[in-house]
Symmetry: C2
Subunit: 219 residues, 2 copies
Amino acid sequence: MISETTQDRTEAGTDTSGGARPSATVGRKRDASRDATILDAAISILAEVGYDGMTMDMVAVRAKAGKATVYRRWATKADMVLEAVARMKREQVDLDNLPDTGSLRDDLLALFRPQPMEETERKLRAMAGMTALLSQHPALADTAHDALVAPWVEANRVLIRRAVDRGEIPPDADIEMVAQVMPSMGAYRTLIRRQPFDRTFLVAMVDGLVLPALGLPCK
Amino acid sequence: MISETTQDRTEAGTDTSGGARPSATVGRKRDASRDATILDAAISILAEVGYDGMTMDMVAVRAKAGKATVYRRWATKADMVLEAVARMKREQVDLDNLPDTGSLRDDLLALFRPQPMEETERKLRAMAGMTALLSQHPALADTAHDALVAPWVEANRVLIRRAVDRGEIPPDADIEMVAQVMPSMGAYRTLIRRQPFDRTFLVAMVDGLVLPALGLPCK
DNA sequence: AAGTTTCGAAACTTAATAGTATCGAATTAA
DNA sequence: TTAATTCGATACTATTAAGTTTCGAAACTT
């Protein structure tokens, strides 16, 4: 079972008072930076061996943390993985700072510029590792999608709309469908085929699929 | 570890002679029909709960078989799942009997006619269940792909080539890429999004993506 | 200084399950 | 008839891993 909320503060030890205690104001403070370290280790291991292949000991060892430190933060393995995935969202595509080169093709390719594609591949693999969890908790499918794929789709949507507005491509295309193509094929290629999501593949998708589907070469 | 070959015949009991014995000619014969029943149970459970969620007891119970009957056929769980997936291949798209309506659109839609799409979805879900196994044995990715997706891609390839030959669509499209679109998006939709692979989605892909990418509406 | 909490480390408990062994009944060949 | 083998069922073993507890040291509040 996945807990409703993340554990915050105590409840451990020989406490018998049962009631929820307010955040402790005394004692050593929690090192917030351990959270990120642990979650990052979790994501890496998730990408490598999947949810069921990942043990809490592996995570603790890689993060150089004790298991108590891990379980003080998340009640269960599933809870931890959930937050790890949710956190990836923040590092994703920066929707407020999209490329704007004047060419749709360049915009689409530039989406992967600052952070190289290894990082995208790592995240896709982490998502692959989560599929096992999705079987047990289908509701998590949305969390994973929102965190990893939705921002990418949204970015494509914006870039395509801009191209329509500036008259670069005809306005009658199914933008919604086209915006999903690259994320879908990227996920499939990484998750199922286990092939690299590299620049060659990216360019092939843009030139062989996305732009033609939008009617570009017919102009 | 995954065994090289499927166990055939004996080696069980109190045999101490070590050497590989030829197929027994005496005693009760193996009921070959149990194989299919067991593998079918395995596929269903795989689709429902994934590889790690599936226990050998579940499979035996659903197939109304004893575990000895299962392990007499396959040495390990992974072996069994492998053969189950390989067997799905034979029930897939009939490449020797593809639709040929004279219209690419109708051909693509007709691919899913005889067997309804629930079956396709079940197979895609079984594949989703296998992703966990792929994390541990990446070599299996090819087996799964060959069994479940490659025939579908090949069918698309053939149908598209025919349309090019008869002049329905221009010959300069990236056929290889386009042929992969529907399987990729179908897999992604089923595996990650956990949304239905229904006729509506199929038509949207064909009309909003595949045909436009091939340059059809510009003719 | 005193009391409380967090830290990493490691020992421990407990539940689940892959795989094995055994059972009595049924099937087959010699 | 007899010996070998398969069948479903079930008990058993061994391993793995989630989650708990304990430890001594460090860090923080009052």
